[in-house]
């Protein structure tokens, strides 16, 4: 059996960054396990630019970002298991975890002190968004369509309807339009778009693709291949307005209805899950409720920017190296983050107050002229506007945290008084 100090599960941006960082910090035996034949996770299929402005200070395409990260990794020595799918993790004791994986060469059983779990997220499917009707061919998630087009060079269809206006859906709308397909509409159930404004501009407006806000796809119509979708307007409670139903002819339906962290293997271990992020509850080293198991990247929180996923990979690696060298992550007392007002979530959920921490959060609904307050440390940050599609990232220094004597810190977002 192979024995490691750290096994990184998932070879996307955060996983590669975690392996690199751990090696740089002097962790000896590191392995990176990935289910695909190529590293990078979803980056190699994201052929558009907009990646790496923070991390590499350059505007790169997804594959270029991967290449740079992989080149960095090649200079360090760690084992890479490609085409290897982890199907079970066992927590033996504080210093011993087992990772079971299936590969071309049979079942692999690896032993390790620490794990950085960076298996990314999965896409919500048509079965999860309440669309009834038949299930003919021609229905894909946005990521499936992207893989078909930009890895395999296969065009999924010609007349396209997209459900969901998150960034992935918008990027695919443009991709289809560029490739000569007719993108009939992007349909969004919320009264505001799910993606970044720049993507509305450069992906929809550039190609005159209609964005139908407060609309929902009710039904799929078609026998062998999808032929039409039934669409309606919805009211504030997302209920269908009866006389607003109409149909759009299409041969392809793309589902871009959100992403969910992939943490089934961790759930099986019995770690604490935060219902707000649908992923692990973590401390400021991104360690879960099981000592020595860390989570990073989109498996922890669905990020807007790959740079944040990389950053989390590095924080988790910092944690793993501390665990290896100091026999654990220390804190005199973990302080809980409490939420108040227009906040959907903040991670990490526990902080020590003894080191710097980067917090990532999202709001529930769009709002202008707001302030984020953390009363216990008398911190106040103003925002011109906040949107659910734009992640809030902020760094808290250990100096400002050191004076806190309470067991919790309360984050609240509220309207600024003029």
């Amino acid at each position: 059996m192979y024995t490691y100090d750290l096994i990184v599960i998932g070879g996307g941006a955060s996983g590669i960054a975690a392996a690199i960082k751990a090696k740089e910090l002097g962790v000896k035996k590191v392995a990176l396990v990935d289910e695909k034949s190529y590293l990078g996770g979803v980056l190699p299929q994201c052929i558009h630019s907009g990646f790496g402005l923070v991390y590499f200070k350059e505007d790169l395409t997804g594959p270029e970002f991967t290449e740079k990260l992989v080149q960095k990794a090649k200079k360090l020595s760690f084992d890479v298991y490609s085409d290897t799918f982890v199907f079970k993790i066992i927590y033996r004791d504080y210093f011993e975890k087992l990772v079971y994986a299936v590969s071309k060469h049979g079942i692999k059983k690896l032993k390790t002190k620490t794990i950085v779990y960076s298996a990314g997220c999965r896409e919500r499917s048509i079965y999860e968004i309440g669309v009834v009707g038949s299930r003919p061919s021609g229905i894909f998630t946005a990521g499936e369509a992207q893989t078909l087009m930009d890895i395999y060079g296969i065009m999924p269809g010609k007349n396209i309807v997209i459900v969901g206006s998150g960034d992935v859906g918008l990027i695919m709308a443009r991709r289809f339009a560029l490739q000569g397909a007719n993108v009939k509409a992007v349909i969004e159930i919320m009264p505001y778009p799910g993606g970044l404004t720049r993507n509305i501009v450069q992906c929809l407006n550039d190609f005159n693709i209609p964005l139908l806000l407060s609309h929902s796809v009710l039904r799929v119509i078609g026998k062998d291949r999808i032929e039409e979708v039934e669409v309606c307007k919805v009211d504030e409670s997302k209920k269908c307005i009866e006389d607003s139903i109409f149909r759009i002819k299409c041969d392809t339906l793309i589902i871009s209805a959100g992403l969910v962290p992939r943490v089934e293997l961790l759930e099986d271990l019995g770690i604490s899950i935060d219902p707000l992020t649908k992923s692990a509850v973590v401390n400021d080293r991104l360690e879960t409720s099981l000592p020595g198991i860390f989570v990073a990247g989109n498996a922890l929180v669905v990020n807007d920017l790959v740079d944040y996923a990389v950053e989390q990979g590095e924080v988790a690696a910092q944690g793993a190296s501390e665990f290896v060298f100091n026999n654990g992550i220390s804190a005199a007392q973990w302080k809980k983050i409490k939420l108040n007002g227009n906040i959907r979530f903040f991670v990490p959920q526990l902080i020590s107050g003894e080191r710097d921490v980067i917090m990532y959060g999202r709001v529930i609904s769009p709002e202008e002229k707001v302030k984020l307050e953390i009363n216990e440390i008398k911190k106040e940050i103003s925002f011109f506007r906040v949107r659910p599609s734009e992640m809030i990232r902020l760094r808290l220094n250990k100096d400002e945290l050191s004076s806190v004597k309470t067991k919790s810190l309360t984050f609240s977002i509220s309207k600024r008084s003029e």
């Binding site: 052929i47 594959p63 991967t66 509305i200 550039d206």
Partner: protein
């Protein structure tokens, strides 16, 4: 109409912050640009009003490679209105592995001044027959 005043509201697409920029132009000359948080935004707004440009991205069919396609982009932004023709042209281009990031596959595409360069390396597929 000798004094043609034009007010254009833009969302900057240079970075994910997405500043709301207002450009005021008169007789084809820019009078003021406001709302941008950085100089890149000013440059973008200037171009966007009269000569909108974008990078173009696609994949090309690739022979003998470990992947069936190779990802490419234009080496610099090209006129937004030229992009459909560029896409059409590139849909008929086929290349062969191996290719590395930065390799030029088409020079000065459609006289745009931009080259088409590889963004995703493809190794040669080894045949183990």
């Amino acid at each position: 109409m000798s004094n043609k005043r034009k007010v254009v509201k833009l969302t900057c697409i240079v970075c994910p912050i997405g500043c709301e920029i207002e450009v005021i132009a008169e007789n084809g000359n820019i009078i003021s640009i406001s709302g941008n948080k950085c100089p890149n935004g000013e440059k973008y707004a200037k171009e966007e009003v009269f000569h909108p440009k974008r990078l173009a991205f696609t994949v090309l069919r690739c022979k003998n490679g470990t992947m069936p396609t190779v990802a490419v982009k234009t080496s610099k932004p090209v006129s937004k209105f030229l992009i459909p023709s560029i896409m059409k042209y590139l849909s008929n281009v086929e290349v062969s592995a191996p290719l590395n990031v930065g390799d030029v596959v088409v020079q000065n595409i459609l006289d745009s001044g931009a080259d088409v360069v590889v963004t995703r390396s493809v190794d040669l597929l080894e045949c183990n027959s």
